[in-house]
Amino acid sequence: MMQGYLRSDGRKGIRNIVAVGYLVECAHHVAREIAMPHREEDVHVIGFPGCYPNDYAQRMMDRLCTHPNVGAVLLVSLGCESFNKYGLERAVRATGRPVKTITIQATGGTRSSIAEGRAWVAEQRAVLDEMQTVPMDVSELVVGTVCGGSDGTSGITGNPAAGRAFDRLVAAGAACIFEETGELIGCEHIMASRAINPALGQELEASVAKAARYYATLGYGSFAAGNADGGLSTIEEKSMGAYAKSGSSPISGMIKPGDVPPKGGLYLLDVVPDGEVRFGFPNINDNAEIAELIACGAHAVYFVTGRGSVVGSAVSPVIKICANPETYRRMADDMDVDAGRILDGRATLDQVGQEIYDLTLSLGQGKRTRSEDLCHQEFILTYKSFEPLGPSCLPH
């Protein structure tokens, strides 16, 4: 049985971290220094580097600071940035979590801010470490999936195996989220046919059409040079492989970054901004996608890699599923699951899918992932702009 930390909104966390959030790049160093002595004790740095306000970034920080895996929040402000720190602090306080804002200009600079921040974090850490857990059911889990450093093995082993784990989770009542509409280009019609009703199917297709337009304007698809080295020739080919992560459950809805799935089922996360192209690429790297999945409430994220990514994330554990057996031999230390066994017949898709499912549940029983052990706590948040969800996106 999993154990979770019960929060005031009824959700449960499988981690109990202190989040240290910087509200402009100018406060990043101070935030990092505050967290550094505790980096192996679940104190994670998140933040937004921009000095100009942005609704999306405000919402992302709000959702991350009130994520079920977060037990307390320290906000670090320089003092003159535009981020609405008062609103964020109020939102966190309303959930009953301990929260404090340090404003560097008021505290007297770097040294005094670090000292004050470290003292507060140490205090909160001690309190959180005494917190009792409660039993947690699979149906209370939210799990996300991404792939990165993909190659020709990803779509044959790791992604379909992650899809099998998703099928099991959805069957048990959990909410599962797949994403990156820019990597579904070419399979939008196949995907739309899995929607629970035709209106949702149209929304799914429209989200991919939006992504195709967005990337065409930018002149690059969601495709890196290493993808081609690994045998992938086109974005459509990468898409078909990436799509396999979604498994075979019906698609219950479409959400945008920061929307928490209203109930169990399979959801597509639309990550491409709405409106005209601005602020650059939708997600500038894998961690930008991971942060968005976590902002949607993901307790854990599956990361399928062929070429060999090493990243983890702040806030939620990342399970790294290695699709390529040659990569696994080189980088086994960074990988939680050796899905390349499927390629040479040492395991079946179902066996690896079951292994991923079991590992997911074990994260709620004290087990930690490789990237957690290695203190990977990557985090990135950039400018974006979204319109609210359309009425057909979340059918009842």
Partner: protein, 102 residues
């Protein structure tokens, strides 16, 4: 039977096969009963033509279109960025920067 071959057919409709073990130049390949000598090395998970593919023809993998051939591709040849392209956005590679490694 298919397991003993160094490649995988993902869908009956496909005109490409996926390499599951490294193939080296000169290896004898049994493609749908025809023995063909490998024309080059194939790294893991790259694609080879299951049958001749004409320029302009759709390349099918997973039973789905993944792009269009930009040249005539003989059976057994490497199918990749040099002889096929996306129907959506172009594929950029670093091959030019790699010199001999490419």
């Amino acid at each position: 039977m298919t397991n003993t071959l160094p490649f995988l057919l993902l869908d009956e409709r496909d005109n490409v096969l996926v390499v599951t073990r490294r193939i080296v130049l000169g290896d004898q390949l049994n493609i749908d009963g025809e023995i063909i000598e490998a024309m080059n090395d194939f790294p893991l998970a790259h694609k080879l033509a299951r049958r001749p593919i004409r320029a302009g023809e759709t390349v099918l993998k997973y039973g789905a279109p993944i792009g269009v051939a930009t040249a005539d591709i003989p059976r057994g040849a490497h199918v990749h960025v040099h002889n096929m392209k996306s129907g959506y956005t172009p594929t950029y590679t670093l091959d030019a920067e790699k010199g001999d490694e490419a």
